[in-house]
Amino acid sequence: MLHDLALTAPLLILLFAAMFTLVVDPFLKADESARRFWGWFGAAFAGLALVTAALLFKFGPFEMQTPAFAYHLSASRYSLFFVALISMCTLVTHLASPKYMVEQGVSYGEYYALINFAAFGMACMVSAESLISLFISLEIMSMAIYVLVAFKRTSLASVEAGMKYFIMGAVGSALLLYGMAFIYGLSGSTTYVEIARALIKPQANGDFWLGLAMLLTGAAFLFKVAAAPFHMWAPDAYEGAPTPITGFMSSAVKAAGFAALLKFLFAAMAGPAMGELHTALPKIIATVAVFSMTVGNLLALTQKNVKRVLAYSSVAHAGYLLLGCVAWIADPTLAGYQQPTGAVPFYLVGYALASLAAFAALAAVGKNGEELTGEAQLIGMGRRHPYAGAVLALAMISLAGVPPTLGFFGKLQLVRDVLGVEDSKYLPHVVILVLNSVVSAYYYLRVTVYIYMRPEGRMPREYVRETSLDWAMGLTAAGILFIGALPGRAMQLGQSAVESLRTGVSVAHLAYEQLPLGPSQALQVRPPVENPAAQGSTEGQPGDQAAARPVPAREPAAKDAPAGIK
């Protein structure tokens, strides 16, 4: 028990920060300095979670790769890597927020609590080892983000964005759940380990039902990471949301979505479990990836608002990342996974830092309830706000993937990774990726041109410095440059995260075999009497769909074993 708690320490720190803010805030005087305090407070706790996750990553006991909390959460290097990344995004978001929220006149303590709740949800999501914990953590995250998007409740744009995001998100959750219901129906379990083991048994029509389940869950995941064709919410939500939250959504939510998706594919839907689908799945994902990056980049070209440009660019980056995922699952037999490299986690770090920097810089300009995010409004930013202008330009260069920055190395690693699959089988996809990068350079560098190279500037001169915002921009810019200069170490970390996912899955399977009793059996309330009436009547009707439904019955062998996991 204590062991479980120690392993989830970073998650608990984030949760504590959220609850503490929520409980104490009403008792503080409602003035600006109190709100600024919550920004620093949230940043400090996110930093603490980051350090804890890093320490566990480095020194953690590695029997912890076995799932904790009755097979519902785990702390492997994989999840800790992403918990650290999410904590970093949370830290920067907290630092970037106070000035913006005060300027917009919506500075309340709940805002900072909600950021921490969302971070807690994401951290749980990347640690999830079962469908139940995945769903709940996804909802904790989404619910907080819906409210955060609509947080400027006096601004119609913000509320409208929240409303649209909420409705689409709720449909996405329902699709995810329906897919989960079918996975549960096929496997009779909700934990990844048991699902992977149960699905190995071939079943009548299994591929069809599994395909349906994957279609539903896949759509929901693509929705969460804003990949085309499920990206419609992204531009509106990104534009309407408070700018620091837009940065949070494009960095942390995307990282959490990809981490959870990959873990789900790797741990639950792995290899033999997928039957015939395992050859089709990489091809489908590669097609979606190409579609997403092309749609995102082409639509970004036509946009005039930098927040919308970055929204479509985030759709394009979701496409690049999905292509990186192909390299992971291209050969998904549990034993014969090809050695995945850390390209996807590393790329996510680069993308998160760059988009956080861009949105922090955008949050720095704009006053009195007005945002200056139109491209024409940025004219003269380089002279009037040299610091913010430089950070925004650097972020754009990194997003475009120009060599000295982190974005370039992320893309390089990703391309090498994908080309390594089965004799460059995905070469055409990589060519499209490179062409897309060229297209994207146009609209990224266009922003830089507006910042520096237009003589007539209308950007307001007065700029109130805010220490926390300066830190937010400084940290992200330093990250882009420093990790960009020395990418080797970060790549290694990503690599060991990915490897731990792989060993984690096999360790979990081994540990599962040694248990006297599966975890779900411990939760069992009534003895599972086979229901001959139900089955008999189903089978008795030829042509009834239910007879064809490939639902495996559990073996009664393990049922009289002693209860309890530990």
């Binding site: 469908l131 139940i132 769903f135 709940i136 909802e139 619910m143 819906y146 409210v147 609509a150 409740r153 119609l156 744009a157 509320v159 409208e160 964005a161 929240g162 409303m163 649209k164 909420f166 409705i167 709720a170 449909v171 959750s173 329902a174 759940l177 329906y178 989960m180 219901a181 079918f182 549960y184 129906g185 009779g188 379990s189 909700t190 531009p235 509106d236 534009e239 309407g240 946009q303 779900s520 059996q521 939760l523 009534r526 599972p528 009497v529 086979e530 229901n531 009436a533 139900a534 009547s537 189903t538 009707q541 009834d544 769909q545 239910a546 007879a547 439904r549 639902v551 019955a553 559990r554």
Partner: protein, 102 residues
């Protein structure tokens, strides 16, 4: 007492889910949209509970209970947003929300 076969429950679940999905895509009143989403979630609940009974294990029930709790939270957030929109716009029709269209 005869038992309802699994297939019937699943078909009912699928029908309810489809009604909900079609509702979300065709109706224009935000409140009806919220109701449609609830219908989808409850269709999932029905499916889960049916599978759970079929397997004779409780995990599906557990997930269904969590879904009920989350659906309640979702309704709270959704209605709060409807209120916020109504205050600013005086309307709960999704077609009136077009400020962000390019």
């Amino acid at each position: 007492m005869t038992t309802i076969p699994l297939g019937h429950l699943l078909i009912l679940g699928a029908v309810l889910f489809t009604i909900g999905l079609v509702g979300v895509m065709t109706r224009r009143n935000v409140l009806i949209l919220l109701m449609s989403v609830e219908l989808m979630l409850n269709a999932v609940n029905l499916t889960l509970v049916a599978f759970s009974r079929y397997h004779g294990w409780t995990e599906g029930h557990v997930l269904a209970f969590f879904i009920i709790a989350v659906a309640a939270a979702e309704a709270a957030v959704g209605l709060a947003m409807v209120l916020a929109v109504f205050r600013l716009k005086g309307s709960v029709w999704i077609d009136d929300l077009k400020l962000l269209k390019r």
